[in-house]
Structure formats: C-alpha cells, structure tokens
C-alpha cells in the first residue's frame, strides 16, 4: 500500500536502542493509518498496571498515509498512547510541518518506550534515528528549544518538543511544534517528560510514494480551489471569526458553563484585528491558513485560536484581549493545553464563588474576571506549584482531591469539555459523551452540522433541530466516523472532506481499493479498538454521559432552556456503531481486529 514510507522506528530510551520495523501495511487495510494504526499497534502494550508516566508505557508519534502528499491540509501528525491526563486512550494531533518532515526523514511513525537517564532528544534524519543529549535544553521554553535545535540541524528541520510543563510532568502538558502548533490535549508533553525526552527533530527530503500523482493532483486542484473560496473568512479572521456566530446560538461557554451572555462586542474577531497587527499563518500545504500571528508588546506571538480565546476569556469572565493573548503565549511557551487549563481554572473559580473551597485555598484562587490572577495561576501551572498544581492535573482529579462531586467537573472520561456548550446542540452533547478520547469537539463537531455549516448528503449529515436528535443519531455516528478518518489519514478537520472525496484521496494516495463502505468500516474499526483500549484501562459505558452540571438549563442566551437528554439516544448510537446493546465492543469484532496479520 502506497502513501506510507515503509518504516516505523521503535525507540527504547532505557537501553538506548532503536529497532526499525516495516510499517504493517496489511493492518492499514483495516485501520488506514495514523491514530487508527497506532491504536492497533499499541493495543497489547497499553496495560492497566502500567501508568502513563511509567517507563513501560509507550508513546506513538505517527503520520498518516496522506500526510505530506498533495491532499490539501495534510501536514498533520498524531501523538498517542495512554493519556497522562485521563488514564485512558489518548491522541492529539498537530499541524505545522513536523508530520511531513517525519515522513520525508523516512518514517511513518515512532514508538517510544523507556526512560533516558538524562534529558535527550531524538534526531530522525534520512532513515536513521539517533538519541542525542539535551542537557543544555533543560528548563528551556518551547520556542527557545526549537530555535536552539534548528541552529544545530538547520532551519528546514522541524522540531516537536516539550516545555517546562512537560519536564515538570504536568498532566495537561502538550507537545509543541513549528512555533506554536500544538498536540495540545491529553497530556502527552508529560509522557515525553517522563521519558526524559525533550524533543524530536525531523530532517530529510525523501519522497513520499503515491499511487497516482495525476489523480491526486487533479483532486488537489479542485479541493484547493473549493477551500480557498469557502474558507476565505477563516483565512481573514482565523477560527476566532466563529466567536459571535457561536455566541448567537449559545455555543460559547460563559463563566464555567453557568451563563450564556457576555459583552461579545468587546472581543469578537473584528476587535482582535483592530487591536493587533494580525496576519494569517498556514500549516504546510494548507490553502486555508487559520493560524494567526500578532504583534503584542513589541513581539510577534502566535495568536489565540477560538478554543483558547474562549477558555481564557468568557469561560473565566475575562474580556480583556491582552490577558487572553498573554495567557495563550504562556501556554505555548511552557507547553500546556489551553482548554484543560481554562476549564480547570474556571472550575476552581466556580467553587470559590459557591463557597465550596477550603479556607486556605479559597484565598489563592482568583475570582472570575481577575486578569492578573488568571496569568499568575497559569504561570504556576507550568511550574506545577500552588493552585497551578491543581489546574495542571485537570478538572477530574482536582474534583477528587477536593472531595467535590464529579458532577461539577466539566469533563467526559477525564477530558475537559471544550468551548462548545453541549446544551446548544444535543448532537454535540452526544458526540462529547461518546468521543473516543473523551469530550472532544473534533470528533465530532456536530455544532457545525446544526448550524448548517457541514454537510455530507451521502451520510445524512445535514442541519436540523439542534434541540432534538430524533432521526439524526445516524448523522452523529457518521460525523464521528468522518472525523475519525481525519485522524487516520491524517488531515486537518477544518478542510472538511465528504466521504466520497476521502475515498478518492485514499485511492489516489494508497492504490488500495477503498470504497465508501470499507473506508467507513475502517473508521468504525479504529473507534472500536480505541474504545476497547480505554475499557481495558478502566473505562466503561457508564462514562458515556455528561456531568450533572449540564443537566441544569441555562437561563439566558442562545442555549436558553435546553437540557440534552442523551441517554435516550445511546442505544441507537451503539447499534449504529456496531457495538453491543450495553455499549461494549463485540468480542468477534475485537478478535478480528486484533488478529496478528503479518505483512
């Protein structure tokens, strides 16, 4: 099967060995690649008795078959394994160009185990992987680390690294690459930190083989033209352009999910453009260019995208743009997830307001809207001290430590709910409850379906009544599958691709006889294996729910009065995914998927 460069490097940092194995392309027929293939390969190695920060816990860093090809917006890679944040299956993707250069360096993926004695980095270059000392990078932030390593390996190299949060094993630490691009969620920065692995440098100019260059170029021409036209405003305003649209529908969480209105005119995308000199930045091979660079206090910094602006903005009742930009920069420099940090800080602020914190802690936690307090709390998060230690461990563990009901913790399977209010879209609520990594707005982003922004007629994905899923559970399942494909291929989900086009792209890249049926089945296989892994690690169908915090209707805003009753849709959801009535994955499917096919 083409699209793959044919090799996976298994790096053991304890004994310093690197074993290069052929990419098991036969498995790609079942899982396509990317996070699906990684889940299959890690299946037996993710064990409940091995904690995510222990030496024996593997971390996989994979590109996908379309990464680095002419398919638009296909620069992505995924970091996956047992999540240091949730303890279950975790995966997090990032753009930039790291995924492309990893393949050009000769590898479809890396599987990293063990723990180096001292801080090291990996050099992945022209078919070889070397372990190199990184003691000079200890304590460096992510921008400084990238700069230092590029001095040594050249500016064409791409660096994925951790900051101080990862070194300090903060469970929400992220992996940062190509300036401020982030595999943000699930805490894999801490997993790399636990292995004493500061960075991975990829360098190389190898070819990525595809089955039909001509078919691929034709497809890419059409898609590039389409995206340029349909995503013009995303290019001009970035994802922040969504803010007042989401606001209208009550999709923007306010004051730890307790309110629905705020002074939107103080922080919409237009205000950002007026306030800062902003320009667009694109990942490798992307015609959309949703990234922002801003001039801020005499520096050029990566601008906040929608999720971050809301996490450090309305969610904390903070409408000060400078604070949001500064908070985003802090999170990028130190390498931690903005959504998990914002939600957990919001949770503490909420408990403070409700008089639910012990006396000593109450004074330490800033009140909603306290700008300086927010920045100080985030600095402490990177250093894993003070209330930052609580923020850094995420909302679920913090609730447990404080003896507060999990019903208040805005998370599913330990992953904090992102910045799309589940009461604004029942389909979004169901997606959160059943997402393969917990509450995830990328699998799937059903709020966009409800707003009429995403459609795939063949999969019955179309806009409808956002308060009611009657007759539309199939659309939720199919969107989740379509988004699963993004992480298997690997491509960016902002470049929306209907199933028909996914199949054409896969055929042109791999030469494998993909059809809509076997492609959709591969997505279901991938979802099933990830679910099985999480269940093996202690999760269950009982986790397919939203916390009680969301059972109260909001009294204002665009989500006024809506309480999503997702339990009634679960049986249909399970059936359509091909799972058992109780939400477990059928044994025969398990056996078939993890059968040891040889190449």
């Amino acid at each position: 099967m083409l699209g793959f460069v044919g090799k996976i490097a298994c790096v053991n940092l304890t004994d310093g060995t690197v074993e290069v194995r052929p990419t098991p392309v036969k498995e790609a027929g079942k899982f396509i690649g990317g996070s699906g293939l990684a889940a299959r390969l890690l299946y037996h190695d993710l064990k409940p008795e091995v904690g995510p920060l222990e030496e024996g816990s593997p971390v996989a860093i994979f590109a996908g078959p379309v990464t680095g090809t002419a398919v638009p917006s296909s620069s992505r890679f995924v970091v996956c394994g047992r999540s240091p944040l949730t303890g279950f299956w975790g995966e997090s993707t990032s753009g930039g160009k790291f995924g492309v250069v990893l393949k050009r360096a000769g590898f479809d993926g890396l599987i990293i185990t063990g723990k180096a004695r001292e801080l090291v980095y990996l050099l992945v270059e022209n078919g070889k992987v070397e372990i190199k000392p990184a003691f000079n990078l200890k304590g460096r932030d992510t921008y400084g680390t990238q700069e230092e390593l590029k001095k040594v390996h050249g500016t064409e190299a791409s660096v994925a690294c951790i900051g101080t949060a990862g070194e300090n094993l903060v469970p929400i630490a992220s992996v940062i690459n190509d300036n401020g691009r982030a595999a943000g969620r699930m805490g894999f920065g801490a997993a790399l930190g636990s292995k004493n692995l500061k960075a991975i440098v990829a360098a190389g100019r190898g070819e990525i083989p595809v089955a039909s260059t001509q078919a691929l170029q034709e497809l890419a021409r059409g898609l590039n033209a389409l995206y340029k036209k349909t995503t013009l405003l995303t290019n001009q305003f970035g994802t922040l352009g969504y803010l007042d649209i989401g606001y209208y529908f009550g999709d923007v969480p306010v004051k730890y999910f307790t309110r629905g209105i705020f002074p939107i005119d103080r922080m919409n995308a237009r205000r950002f453009r007026e306030e800062y000199a902003v320009h667009a930045r694109a990942c490798w091979g992307c015609p959309i260019g949703c990234g922002r660079e801003l001039k801020f206090k005499g520096r050029v910094v990566d601008g906040p995208e929608y999720e971050t602006a809301v996490s450090f903005g309305p969610l904390l009742e903070n409408f000060d743009l400078d604070t949001i930009v500064e908070a985003n920069h802090l999170a990028n420099c130190h390498g931690f997830d903005t959504i998990s940090a914002g939600v957990t800080l919001g949770f503490l602020m909420y408990l403070k307001e409700q008089n639910m914190l012990p006396a000593g802690l109450k004074e330490e936690v800033p009140a909603f809207g306290d700008r300086e307090g927010i920045l100080e709390a985030l600095k402490q998060t990177a250093e894993n001290r003070g209330i930052g230690r609580l923020i850094g461990q995420g909302v679920t563990r913090t609730a447990k430590e404080l003896g507060v009901s999990q019903g208040y913790a805005a998370a599913v399977r330990g992953l904090e709910i992102p910045m799309h209010e589940p009461r604004a879209s029942v389909g979004q609520a169901l997606s959160y409850a059943t997402g393969p990594r917990g509450a995830c707005h990328q699998r799937g982003d059903f709020f966009q379906v409800d707003l009429g922004l995403l459609k795939d007629g063949d999969l019955h994905i179309r806009g409808g009544d956002r308060t009611n899923l009657q007759g539309r559970v199939e659309a939720v399942v199919n969107l989740q599958c379509l988004r699963e494909l993004d992480n298997c291929l690997l491509k960016c989900n902002f470049a929306f691709t209907p199933l028909k086009v996914v199949v054409d792209a896969l055929k042109a890249v791999t030469g494998y006889p993909w059809t809509p049926e076997n492609t959709l089945q591969a997505a279901k296989n991938s979802l099933a294996v990830k679910r099985m892994i999480s269940f093996n690690l202690g999760s269950s169908s009982a986790d397919d729910r939203l916390p009680d915090h969301f059972r109260k209707a909001l009294g204002e805003g665009g989500a006024y009065g809506i309480v999503p009753d997702i339990e009634k849709y679960l049986p249909e959801f399970y059936r359509l995914q091909g799972w058992n009535e109780d939400g477990t994955v059928p044994r025969e499917l398990v056996s078939r998927l993890i059968a040891d096919d040889k190449n």
């Binding site: 405003l233 352009g241 209208y248 919409n268 995208e305 707003l451 009429g452 956002r466």
Partner: protein, 73 residues
Amino acid sequence: MIKIKVTYASVLMREPEEVELTSGTLGELKEIAAQKLGSVAVCFASGGNLLTDPGLKLAENQEVFIFPLVAGG
C-alpha cells in the same frame, strides 16, 4: 411588502440593517443577501433556529442573523 431586521456576523463587516421584502420569503432574502455579499456562502437563522426552507414566510420586524462558514474549532 414587509420589513425585517437583519444582523450580520462580525466577519461579514456589515452593520445591522432593515431589509424590505416583497414576497416576504426566506428565498427572497437569500437573493438579496447574495447581491450584497457576493460569492460568500451564508446561512440564516432567527430566534436561534436555522432557517433553510426558501418558501418560509418571514414576519414583519422578524430578526434574522446572517452568518458565513468559519471554522470554529
């Protein structure tokens, strides 16, 4: 002939306005919006609900929100 109140998503860079409709249908508003906004594809909502049926009759003074596709992840 009816008058409706139209507001736009901020990225469309247009101030709120009143729009006169002869037939009073969503289809007519869609045509007027296409003239004003050129090739930008937009959606329509009122009272927090998506409006899709071109034959839908709008009411005097009804508020309609017009918004484009912007990735919001």
